[in-house]
């Protein structure tokens, strides 16, 4: 009894306090229905007040990219709040520059909808949908790379610009989180989405991807992304990547060659060792059919004894320097890879006469 009584009394007190707080929350935190105006009247939605702007938008099928599931740790869910939403919170300041704060940029997961709100988001986000799909193929490309093909179910078609990405929902101990993966299949392949995912030890999203099997259901939102391919077939396309940056380049390449079989296209891809090489044979076969497409793979580590390698060696920006010519032709470059690689490649491209407006990059 002497042990039980304190536990009972203290436990009872805590339960009482919790009940009182829950009732208070029901009564007090009830803001009724609030209106969210998106892009000056383009879309107007009504949501229940009291929740975060991010979940209110998701509920109304407006999908803003977010990786952490609304915990305020990724900083992806930026939206411009023009009216209503209160001041910037201390949880947001690490993710915003001063100019963004002045312009009203906020993290949608930290803004609470307590009144009518006017926001501005990039036009294309209104076209983002949530897709359900099943895994049609899951194939290991190398020891740590998996290629996944998702057959779309609802909606059955996706309209993407090459180089865009999707946000795949992955389970985590703290509820679903979203991870961004670039689409590696062609934009003309509208009924499916393919991803190439490298296994990151301990990573939530990549571990999930590597455990997926044929027939598993998946959920993702998309497409997102700023890559903009020039529609003029006279503009050359330069694709440079390394490490896990293959997916968007393959998408761009397949899309370009399907639509303009004779468009000039150069692909450079850097790997560490022969074990990391994938898609090389597939690209060589494509190169046989398309004379204006050339592919270069380079290994940065020395080749070990007993291995055969008929590609190039050294860092990929050196290979690009060797094969690209200086010219005034209009060219577009798409870069995907680790930040030091991007930096080195951009210097090379500038020296070859490309404008920075014609370079698109994604750091992996």
């Amino acid at each position: 009894m002497i042990f039980l009584l304190p536990i009972l009394i203290f436990g009872g007190l805590l339960v009482g306090l919790t009940v009182a707080l829950t009732i208070a929350e029901r009564v007090l935190v009830n803001y009724g229905v609030c209106k969210i105006d998106i892009n000056a009247g383009e879309r107007e939605i009504e949501v229940d007040g009291g929740q975060s702007l991010l979940s209110a938008l998701n509920e109304s099928k407006v999908y803003i990219p977010s990786a952490c599931g609304g915990r305020g740790s990724c900083g992806h869910c930026k939206a411009t709040v023009l009216e209503g939403g209160g001041p910037v919170l201390p949880t947001e300041t690490p993710f915003l520059t001063r100019a963004q704060v002045r312009a009203g940029v906020r993290l949608a997961c930290q803004v609470k909808v307590r009144e009518d709100i006017r926001i501005k988001i990039p036009e294309e986000l209104l076209n983002v949908k949530m897709f359900t799909a099943v895994v049609e193929r899951a194939e290991l490309l190398t020891h740590d790379m998996v290629e996944l093909r998702f057959k779309l179910e609802e909606p059955a078609e996706i309209s993407q610009r090459p180089g865009q990405y999707v946000q795949l929902q992955a389970p985590s101990p703290e509820g679903p989180v979203y991870r961004a993966y670039s689409i590696s299949s062609s934009a003309h392949d509208t009924g499916a989405v393919e991803l190439v995912v490298r296994l990151v030890p301990g990573g939530i999203g990549s571990t999930y991807c590597h455990a997926l099997k044929e027939g598993d259901p998946v959920i993702f939102t998309g497409p997102y992304g700023e890559f903009r391919l020039d529609e003029d077939p006279d503009v050359d396309v330069i694709l440079i990547g390394g490490g896990s940056g293959m997916a968007p380049l393959r998408n761009l390449l397949l899309t370009v060659l399907e639509r303009w079989p004779d468009r000039k296209c150069q692909l450079f891809f850097g790997c560490r060792t022969t074990q990391d090489v994938f898609y090389f044979d597939e690209f060589r076969k494509i190169a046989e059919k398309h004379p204006n497409f050339e592919v270069h793979y380079a290994l940065s580590d020395p080749i070990e004894e007993g291995e055969s390698w008929d590609g190039e060696t050294g860092f990929i920006h050196l290979s690009a320097e060797q094969h690209l010519d200086e010219s005034d032709r209009k060219r577009q470059a798409f870069l995907c890879g680790p930040p030091p690689m991007i930096e080195a490649v951009m210097k090379v491209l500038e020296a070859k006469g490309l404008e920075s407006d014609d370079m698109f990059y994604d750091e992996f």
Binding site: F10, L17, L89
Partner: protein, 196 residues
């Protein structure tokens, strides 16, 4: 201690036995939020409210639940649980009815939970064997005293921005020195009334 009038305790808690300047309780938020007079006053108002209400609730819990069951050794965690729940309630209330104050207080509102002056007031009430009226008066007076102290130092720190403070003393160091000087000044009131 039942012979002292609650009014005397109220005045004493503000001036002669100021919980901050005489007992040095609640120093963390005192030093952190004392750079601007308006936020200091806002935080002070919240502290007054929470301190008054939690001494009343804790009085009732202590004398009607803990004492009859002989569980007075639980008073620390029980008091803290009550204070935490009450601050949550206050936060919801302010968020609903005064969004401006809610944003002005920001992160400091939930931080009142860990303001030791609030717990200190509840514990003093037990040690000094106050009655209910005396406890509430002490809680209210303690809150007002804490607010008075933080507003005073916020005013001083605002002015100090234009003073040439030696580099090693800038920031919290000089604030501590000022607090000490202020505490000594308040010692002039000491001994005028006995409340313990």
């Amino acid at each position: 201690m039942s012979e002292i009038s609650p009014f005397v305790i109220l005045i004493a808690a503000i001036f002669t036995n100021n919980i901050l300047l005489a007992n040095f309780l609640g120093m963390c938020s005192f030093l952190a939020v004392s750079k601007q007079i308006d936020t200091a006053a806002g935080l002070g108002a919240a502290v007054i409210f929470v301190m008054t209400a939690t001494t009343a609730i804790n009085y009732a819990v202590y004398h009607h639940v803990l004492v009859p069951f002989g569980l007075t050794f639980l008073s620390y965690i029980v008091f803290i649980a009550v204070i935490a729940a009450f601050v949550q309630f206050v936060e919801m209330f302010i968020e609903r009815f005064s969004l401006g104050l809610y944003h002005a207080l920001g992160i400091f509102l939930p931080l009142i939970t860990v303001n030791c002056a609030i717990l200190g007031a509840s514990l003093f009430m037990i040690i000094r064997r106050y009655t209910f009226a005396q406890s509430v008066a002490f809680g209210f007076g303690g809150g007002v005293g804490w607010t008075l102290a933080i507003i005073l130092i916020a005013g001083l720190r605002q002015r100090m921005r234009y003073s040439d403070v030696p580099v090693p003393f800038r920031g919290v160091a000089i604030a501590m020195v000022i607090t000490g000087v202020m505490a000594m000044a308040f010692m002039g009131f000491a001994g005028m009334v006995r409340i313990q």
